[in-house]
């Protein structure tokens, strides 16, 4: 899995490439949490364009990040999500806490 992060307008943007499963969950968790701490960002936008697969471990690690940012009033958004990934996010109820957008700028405007 490849993860890169950038901060725009005080929002942490996380670009993810690969498969979000139990194998990659720890890497995802630690790199997002480290970037959150160093940037002091409140909200997170996940750009999932490069994510081809997600299962409950991937859903769980996103939920964990939500629990973290929501304590301080932060929100999650996701952009460029592939249909098979949208289906799993929807099925797991995650779309109730993370809105989907077509582009990073749309997501930034909403936060």
């Amino acid at each position: 899995m490849n993860i890169s992060t950038i901060v725009k307008q005080g929002v942490l943007i996380v670009h993810v490439e690969g498969e979000m499963d139990m194998h990659s969950a720890e890497q995802f968790r630690s790199s997002v949490d480290t970037s959150l701490e160093t940037s002091g960002a409140k909200h997170i936008i996940f750009n999932l364009q490069g994510v081809t697969f997600i299962d409950s471990s991937g859903v769980g690690v996103i939920l964990g990040r939500y629990k973290k940012v929501s304590i301080l009033g932060g929100k999650l958004a996701a952009v460029n999500v592939k249909p098979q990934v949208v289906r799993i996010l929807e099925f797991s109820g995650l779309l109730r806490i993370m809105k989907l957008f077509g582009s990073e700028s749309e997501a930034l405007d909403s936060l």
Binding site: D21, M22, H23, D55, S56, S57, G60, V61, Q84
Partner: protein, 143 residues
């Protein structure tokens, strides 16, 4: 029912192997005329079964996971076995949001249940767990 194809994989409970088993299952399922959605569902269900074997069956120790795939005329069957700690209460473990880890939603069995046509779980404490999952082939016969 005649078995037209069969694969048996054995691997150590390293999380790298989940992706390898998933790709194998997708290729195995692609022998028959399934939709991309069906294949995606099989990948998710198998991923959940193997993740459970690794996390809950073995935890910090390394053990063997067995993964068998069968193709018959109208079904694909996947069997995942571990020889780990076993599940004390299978009914409880199959409930949504049953999880020992706050970062997990306890959705593993929910996904397996929803994405496959049949799911059965056998477990014995201290001996291990076997998960059997069946996907019906409704579109076409095996090539």
């Amino acid at each position: 029912m005649a078995i037209n194809n069969h694969i048996k994989m054995n691997f150590t409970s390293n999380s790298e192997n989940i992706g390898i088993a998933r790709v194998t299952a997708a290729a195995f399922a692609a022998q028959v005329d399934l939709t991309l959605n069906d294949i995606e569902e099989i990948k998710v269900a198998l991923s959940e079964a193997i993740s459970n074997a690794i996390i809950h069956g073995y935890g910090d120790i390394v053990g063997e996971v067995e993964c068998e795939m069968f193709l018959s005329d109208d079904i694909l069957e996947f069997i995942v076995t571990d020889y780990g700690v076993g599940i004390a209460d299978i009914e409880l473990a199959r409930q949504p949001s049953y999880s020992s880890d706050p970062e997990r939603m306890g959705l593993g069995f929910v996904f397996m249940d929803s994405f496959m046509d049949e799911l059965s779980v056998e477990s014995a404490l201290g001996k291990g767990t076997t998960v059997r999952m069946i996907k019906k082939i409704t579109n076409d016969k095996a090539h």
